[in-house]
Structure formats: C-alpha cells, structure tokens
C-alpha cells in the first residue's frame, strides 16, 4: 500500500543526452551517418523473437519449443530488507519470497487465487471457520514434510509481539489476533489449530471475503521450525534457509544479486521450468535499462521516466504497461481553513482539473484518469462514477467557476493555499500542473511545498500545517474495503480529518457482511457517500511499467503485479540474430509495430477492458503467424479478480531514492559536501 508517484518524471541525464547531446555529437563524429546511425545503434539492443508457443494437453509448453537455457535475470529495483517472510515488507522482498515460499493459497499467472500448500478448503456457513487440507506430497527443501503444525508455528510466530512484524496486521481478521499482537494473550491463543497432521483450521473474528487472498501474503507463510530454532535471526541466510516454495536460496551477495535455484523437493517441481532465478537490486532504472538492452536482464522493475516515447518506438515488443491496483490523489485537510465545511469550494477544485491532460502530458505512461477512490480491476466491483465524470471538461470548468464564486472568491479575492508533496519528481510535476490548471481555470493561487518523505508523512498525520497534500494508495489485496477504510474516522492514515458517522457505520456493515452481493452494494454506497463529501481529489490510477524479454512467457500482467517465477519459461529463439542488412529492415518494422502497440495501449486504458498484456499482442502477431496460444491470451475475457497484497512501504523507498538522486542529481551529493 502506498503512495508516491512512481518514478515518472525524473530528469534522466541519459535521456537528455540522447535527445540533445548525442545526436549533435554523433553528427560531428560520424558525419554523414547522422540519424541512420542512431537508429542502428538503437536497433542493436533488440532481442531475438521467440518461436511459436505450443502447449500440451495440460496447458504446459511442449519440450520442443522450450529454450535450453532456463535462467531468468530479474531486476528487483532494490535490495530486499529481509528474507524472513514474517518481517518482510516492501515489493523487493515480496517478489523473492513468492518464489521461495508457498502459503496455503497461491496465485495463477493472471492473479487468480489458486490452491497452494493446501489443495482444497472448506469455509463454514457463517464464513468464520476455514478448514484447509494440505498436500501430502509437499516437502520442505530439506525433505521434511510440510505439515499443519508448520503453518500453526508460522502464523503464531508472525503474530508474536516478539517477532515485531509490521505486516502482522494482515492476520487481524483471525480470532484473538489483536489481543495476541497487543501482548494481552500468548501467541498460542491465536485462532489457528492443527486438526491433524495435514488439516488446519483457522477461526475468524469477521467473515473476511478477501481472506484467501491474504493467505498468499508472506506474513502468513509457514517457516521451518527446526531451522528457525537452530539459527535464530540468521535462519533466512543462504545455507540456513529451508523453504517450501518452488525455489531455494543459494546465494545472497548483499546489494549485488540473489540467486535462487529450483527446489527439487517442491511438490510441483516437474512443472517448474526455470532452473535458476537471479534478482538484482538496480536502484537506478537507467542502469537496469542499459543492462536489459545489453541482454543481461530479462525483466526490469520499472523504466526510466521521460523515455516512454523512445521506448515505445524502439522496444515496442519489450515495453509492458498495465494498470495497477493503486490510486493517486490529493487530499484535503478538512480540519483547517479554507476547506472546513466548504464542500462547494472543494468540489470546484476537483472539477477544475483536466485529468486527461494530466495523464497524457504529465504522467505520460498510460496512467488512467480517475474519478473515484477505488481503482478498476477488482472483480465484481465497479466504482460508482460521479455524474460530473460524464461531463466535458468545459462543462466541469463552468461549474467549477460557479462554485468558486459561490464560495466567495473572485479575481480580486483569490483563494490561496499550499500543495504539500514529498520528494519524487512525479509528485512535483503533478503539483505543478494542478496549481497551474487551478490558476488558469479559477485564478486560484496555490503554492508548492516539497518535503522530505518522513517529514511530509508526519505533517500529514498531524493535520496542522497541511491544506492540500499528495496522497495515494496501492492495496495489498484486491478488495475495495482496503481503500474505503482509509477514510474511517480515527483511522491511522486518515490524514484528511474526514469524519462521517454514517460512513463509519457503513464500513462496519461491510466488515460484518458475508453475502457478496449485499456486501458489494454496501461498498458502492460507501464509496458514493465518500465521493459526495469530497475529502480528496481523484487524479489517476497507477500503472506498472517494465521491460520484458520477448522470449520469456508464462506470465501475464495483472493488477496486483504479482509474477511468480515458477510459472515462467523461455521459448527458443525463432532465428539467430540476423546479420547487419536484416537489422536495417528490422528498424523499419519497428515503426509499424509501434503504431500497433500504441493503439493497444489506448485500448487498455479503457477501464473494464483491463488487460494486461497489451503490448504483447501486436508483438506476437508481427513476430509469429498464429499468435501465441496461451500465455498471454490478450483480448480474451479475463477475470481480474486478483488477489492480494502488495505492499508498498518499499515502493516508498524504491521511489524515493531514484527520485532524490536522479531528480536533483546534485542534491544528495551537495548535501554531503
């Protein structure tokens, strides 16, 4: 969960260079070659196209199309803070832990919840008792069987105050979890029981419809008791770590790379194709991109900002952009002037912003304009779109001016306030763009105030200095409740000071409701109420953006952005890298594909048609007649139900750093001098 603008918009020196300095210098150096030359250079980084994918009757690829070398090099963006599943936070750790461990449930490539260590389960009629039946053929990497007792130990350890897990809150729906976390009850009182060696029962406080999704979150993973007891806090190191997932940890060079090898004892090892997976903590996305272009990386965690057009042109097959389960918005501080009790004024500010313009010109990576709190992509839930979302921007602006004038402001007496935001160039760009739009449409004078992240969070929380501030949320699980709960009175992240007893009552009803259709209706009503009260300014839905080697298959874009290595595999290259002459032809081709892929991006941008793989489509068509049968299946109807979690504390870090360094290039250095 979290916030930040993903790293869009930093000033990337390489990009600048490419656009201005290099063309100039190349003209000087290479003389006549000019533009051609640069095109060719760019073309050199292109990757071999895969052969056509053929599936067997079980839906797995047939051996003849699979490449010999099955080693995946993944950029992880940052060093994981820990590989102890119960202490883990942040995207980098979560990605690796999904490969190392397996919870009771797991996720399919498209993000659906599928059986994990449990092969089936029963949910009692009142929704409060879950019984899980574990696979009898599941083993730890050292050969011990995975038993119900291991899960009991894992869940108790996760909730134990002595473990001090940040993510233990995932366990809160379990009976007695709050008391255990507070230290009032011993961990043994947690509502988790091993009925027999392979049967596990979990008792709940509330029916929690998204609980199955939570069970694929790292804080619910089992740990190997004997090795935890033997090695203590060092149990998560290579050599010590015993895991039950598709991979085992074989090497960990801090901040260089983490190497996983296939777990021979994994119950589904026969279907795991990638033999080795390497995770690299490339904090600088330009570096990761360069490694990718040199063929040393197959998967990046993001792409450098301001390079969308360039990448789209030169790497249409590799660039993958898809909606993410997160919303970016501005919050109002409702406890401070001028926004207390001033609904009309708040609405005027909401209406005055042209979201199409903001996503097209400011964020630039295909982010979706947003008019609600809950992002699209959650199964069985479509946010109630407010009426004004259907208006043209001109109509919205007219209404905005009317409301603005009604609130008592005018050209002579303009509204003045501060927009507060944290480090991160995208935040800055959004704040800048919003303030100039407000000025243009209403004559508002909004000043900008940038703050270091922790200072910013503290100020938001205190609600004394803030007026309008940047905010956002990326959910850990695909349920609207995760978003709606942020605005509950007294919620720790309710930095808006929003308090509506009706809203709180509705949330309570949602929490206690177990019939999906009623629950959905309650949530719709809750969100509608929130949107009518205007405690925030919806702006856009986040997207994930990355480069992926075209030969890597078996994965799909999904709103959770969870991608298990065990599903992935490499196809053989269709042909060897062509000689230079062919290279030029390829360059021309690029132009054609490029158009196709930009179309598909737009398609994707239509909510409801969310579709991950987008870019892949044009690519496969172009490369192999027949398209690809399986992996990607774009265009097909797809359930984006998607499961759970993702956290974001780390997105924070992931973002913050790149931004700080790249944005101001000079700033960190200067401060140290």
């Amino acid at each position: 969960m979290q916030n930040w603008s993903k790293k869009s918009g930093m000033v990337d020196p390489v990009n600048l260079l490419r656009q201005f300095v290099l063309p100039a210098s190349l003209v000087l150096l290479v003389g006549a070659c000019g533009d051609d030359y640069q095109e060719k250079l760019a073309a050199r980084g292109r990757h071999a196209q895969p052969v056509e994918l053929i599936l067997n009757e079980e839906g797995r690829p047939v051996p003849s199309v699979i490449a010999e070398q099955q080693e995946l090099h993944r950029d992880n963006g940052q060093e994981p803070q820990t590989l102890d599943p119960h202490l883990a936070e942040g995207l980098p750790a979560a990605r690796i832990l999904r490969d190392l461990f397996e919870g009771l449930t797991a996720e399919s490539p498209e993000g659906r919840i599928i059986p994990g260590a449990a092969f089936r389960w029963n949910i009692s009629r009142d929704g409060k008792t879950y019984t899980f039946y574990l696979r009898r053929d599941a083993y730890w990497s050292n050969g011990d069987p995975v038993t119900a007792e291991d899960f009991v130990y894992g869940l108790r350890r996760s909730a134990d105050p002595a473990t001090a897990s940040k993510y233990a809150q995932v366990l809160l729906p379990i009976e007695n979890a709050p008391e255990v976390l507070a230290g009032d009850l011993p961990p043994s009182e947690l509502g988790v029981t091993a009925m027999d060696e392979f049967t596990l029962q979990i008792s709940m406080r509330d029916p929690t419809p998204y609980f199955l999704a939570l069970l694929s979150h790292s804080s619910t993973y089992p740990v190997h008791k004997a090795s935890v007891l033997e090695h203590g806090s060092a149990f998560s190191r290579p050599g010590n770590l015993v895991s039950n997932g598709a991979y085992v940890l074989s090497e960990w060079a801090i901040r260089s790379r983490i190497e996983l090898i296939k777990n021979k004892n994994y119950w589904d090892a026969d279907n795991v194709i990638l033999e080795k997976v390497y995770y690299y903590p490339f904090e600088d996305q330009s570096t990761a991109l360069k490694r990718f272009r040199a063929g040393k990386l197959h998967w990046t965690s993001g792409v450098p900002n301001n390079q969308f057009k360039w990448l789209q042109k030169h790497y249409p097959d590799e660039l993958v952009i898809s909606p993410w389960l997160g919303s970016y918005y501005f919050g109002f501080n409702l406890e401070r002037e001028p926004f207390i009790e001033n609904l009309g004024l708040r609405m005027a500010l909401v209406l005055a912003l042209d979201r199409d313009l903001l996503t097209e010109k400011v964020t630039q990576f295909g982010e979706l304009p947003s008019y609600t709190l809950v992002p699209p992509g959650i199964r069985d839930y479509v946010s109630p779109v407010p009426e004004w979302a259907e208006w043209t921007q001109a109509e919205r602006e007219k209404e905005a001016r009317r409301l603005y004038a009604m609130a008592g402001y005018s050209e002579e007496n303009p509204l003045e306030f501060e927009i507060r935001y944290s480090a991160g160039a995208n935040n800055k760009k959004m704040a800048l763009a919003a303030s100039s739009l407000w000025k243009q449409v209403l004559g508002v004078r909004a000043s900008l105030l940038n703050e270091e992240n922790k200072v910013f969070l503290q100020n938001r929380e205190q609600k004394i200095l803030t007026q309008v501030f940047q905010a956002g949320w990326i959910s850990d699980y695909a349920d609207p409740y995760s978003f709606l709960n942020l605005f509950r009175s007294g919620h720790g992240r309710n930095d808006y000071g929003y308090s509506n007893s009706l809203y709180d009552a509705l949330l309570d009803e949602v929490a206690a409701e177990r019939i999906p259709s009623i629950r959905r209706r309650l949530m719709l009503e809750t969100e509608r109420l929130l949107l009518a009260d205007v405690p925030f300014i919806p702006l856009y839905t986040y997207v994930t953006k990355r480069m992926v080697n075209p030969r890597l298959k078996g994965w799909q874009s999904n709103v959770m952005d969870h991608h298990y290595s065990k599903h992935m595999f490499f196809l053989k290259a269709a042909l060897d890298e062509p000689p230079t002459v062919v290279e030029e032809i390829e360059v021309t081709e690029t132009g054609g594909e490029n158009i196709r892929s930009s179309e598909s991006i737009q398609e994707m941008a239509v909510p409801g048609e969310e579709e991950g793989v987008i870019l892949k489509e044009g690519d496969t068509e172009a490369a192999l007649p027949g398209g690809d049968a399986e992996t990607v299946a774009p265009g097909q109807e797809q359930d984006l139900d998607l499961p759970l979690e993702e956290k974001a504390p780390d997105v924070a870090n992931e973002d913050m750093l790149p931004d700080t360094v790249t944005e101001g290039g000079a700033s960190p250095e200067d401060s140290l001098k």
Binding site: A162, S256, T287
Partner: protein, 315 residues
C-alpha cells in the same frame, strides 16, 4: 635522530587529538539523526500502535534518548554497531564489512589514478605554460571540474557500454572491466582539480630562486625538475588529498548508484531517508574514522616532504 623523535611526538600528539574529534562526531550525528522528524517505522502503510510499540521495543527505541545514547556508546566501544533496522537479516557490522572492500577498492584506485594523472597533466601543462598544450589541457580540466559525475557517468556508459559494448553498463563482480567506468568517473573531477593545482604550484616553483640556482649550476632541465622542483610543487597537492578523499566519498554515493555497485555510499542516503539509525551511525563513524586517519596521514607526508613543518616542530 632528534628530528625523528620530533616527528614521532608530533604524530602521537595528533593521534590523541583524534579521540575527542571522533567523540564529537558520534554525539552530534547521534542526536541530529534523532532530531529529524519521523522514525524508522513511519511509512505510508498504517502501523497499528501495538505493532509500532513492539518494533520500538525490539530496537530499544522506547527507552529515554540519553539512555539510548549511553547504551550506544558502550556498544561501539566494543565495535558493535548493532542490527540494521532496515536490512533486518544483517548487522551493521556485516553490512559495512561487505561494502567496505568494494568502496575502498574503488576509492583507492580512483585516488591513485587521479593523483598520477593529475600531477602528470599539471606538470606537462606547467612546463609548456601559455602554449596550446597548456590551454587545451587546462580547458579540459576546467570541464572535468565543472561537469558533475552524474552527467559524465551516463555519457561514458552510453558510449562505452551500450553502444560500443566494451564494458559492462553496471553491476559489480570484482572484474577489472566492471571497475573501469566507476573508477574513471570517480577520478575525473579530482584529476582535473589536481592538474590545475599542480600546474599552478609548478609554475610558481619554476620561477623561484633555487630553481634559477640549479639551472645556473648547469643541471639538465630534467634533473632540475625531478630533483628540485617536483617536491615543493607537490606540497599543495598533498594537502588537497584530505579534502579530496571526503569529496570522493560523497561522489561515490552517486557513482555507486549509477553503476549499481554494492559499496557503502548509498547506505548514507538510503539509511538517512529510512531513518535507519544504526546503519547511518555505523557508516558515519566508519567514514569519520577513515577521513580523520587519512588527514592524519596527509599531515605526516606533508611534514616529511616539507622541511619547514619539521623545523617548526623542533623549535
């Protein structure tokens, strides 16, 4: 003999002076870190009060600040920097232990490169004062000083790694190839500075009386330069080495990031942003000791090169 014992006393005295400096450094850094708003557990993610209390208790952050301070002092007295709050699987000692060889290798290599290249270029320019060689060398040096290395680095990567494909674009595997770009980038600004410094002092020295005497004695120009001019001309360069080290350490923060090198540099920024108190303290103390020791070493070399300092000491 007398002279040597004077040197030894000088050295010992300076060494003792390091202790209060270090103590001040630790104290100021410790409290500054704590004054900064926010803590290691504040994030966008909501943290229930109970969980936050558990976390604080685990890292002893729930104690009064002074008590934490004295606890920390007693810890580092036995060189235990504690567990990292951010990288939970490792202690600060382990993190520094893994990053230090990398950072020192790059830093040392860059320093050596900068020193030799810089003096060489500086002397060449000085000996051809006001010629085309001099102007172009100094012009390039000026560029080297004024273009920040976060600009130079991507240019070099793009040319040598992406387009030419001769060197890796980033990453670290202890191979010479993976060291070339970071070391060169880190060394460039310092090289440029040293070149200008050397040129200036060399020109000054070449105009001094003792050089004129040496020439008058009929010594060949090469001997005049090597035996007489070089040593005094290098004095300002030597005294610059201390600050240059500090500059390199801060430069390495950027370089390590751009080249994705697992050194200590980024622990500074990242640790501070995450309020990873123990990690930041560990790195600050480590670099503090390093800079203090290097300055001390520079002083000694300076004294050894410059008879004036020695004589002053004796009298």
């Amino acid at each position: 003999m007398i002279q040597d014992s004077g040197m030894a006393r000088h050295a010992l005295w300076r060494l003792l002076g390091l202790i209060p400096t270090l103590f001040m450094l630790i104290t100021v850094a410790f409290f500054l870190m704590r004054v900064a708003p926010g803590g290691p557990f504040d994030s966008e993610m909501l943290l229930p009060a109970d969980i936050k209390a558990n976390l604080s208790a685990k890292y002893d952050l729930d104690e009064p600040l002074l008590q934490q301070y004295f606890r920390y002092l007693s810890q580092i007295a036995v060189l235990d920097f504690g567990p990292s709050i951010q990288y939970k699987d490792w202690t600060v000692n382990e993190l520094i232990g893994q990053g230090m060889p990398v950072s020192l290798t790059i830093g040392l290599a860059a320093m050596v490169l900068a020193f030799f290249m810089g003096t060489l270029l500086g002397i060449s320019a000085a000996l051809r004062q006001n010629t085309r060689v001099d102007y172009s060398l100094m012009g390039v040096a000026m560029l080297g000083i004024s273009i920040p290395n976060f600009v130079i680095a991507p240019i070099l990567i793009l040319l040598l790694a992406v387009y030419a494909g001769w060197l890796p674009a980033g990453g670290w595997d202890w191979s010479i190839a993976s060291m070339v770009l970071p070391v060169v980038t880190l060394a460039l600004p310092v090289t440029a500075y040293i070149a200008r410094l050397t040129r200036g002092s060399m020109i000054e020295v070449m105009h001094s009386n003792f050089i004129r005497s040496a020439r008058a004695k009929g010594l060949p120009e090469s001997v005049v330069i090597r035996r007489h001019a070089l040593r005094p001309a290098l004095l300002p360069v030597i005294s610059f080495l201390g600050p240059a080290t500090a500059g390199m350490i801060s430069g390495s923060v950027i370089i390590e990031r751009i080249f994705s090198i697992p050194g200590l540099g980024s622990y500074f920024v990242q640790g501070a942003l995450n309020r990873d108190y123990t990690l930041v303290m560990g790195v600050v103390i480590f670099y503090g000791v390093l800079i203090i020791l290097l300055n001390f070493l520079v002083d000694l070399i300076y004294a050894w090169l410059n008879p004036k300092v020695r004589y002053d000491e004796r009298s």
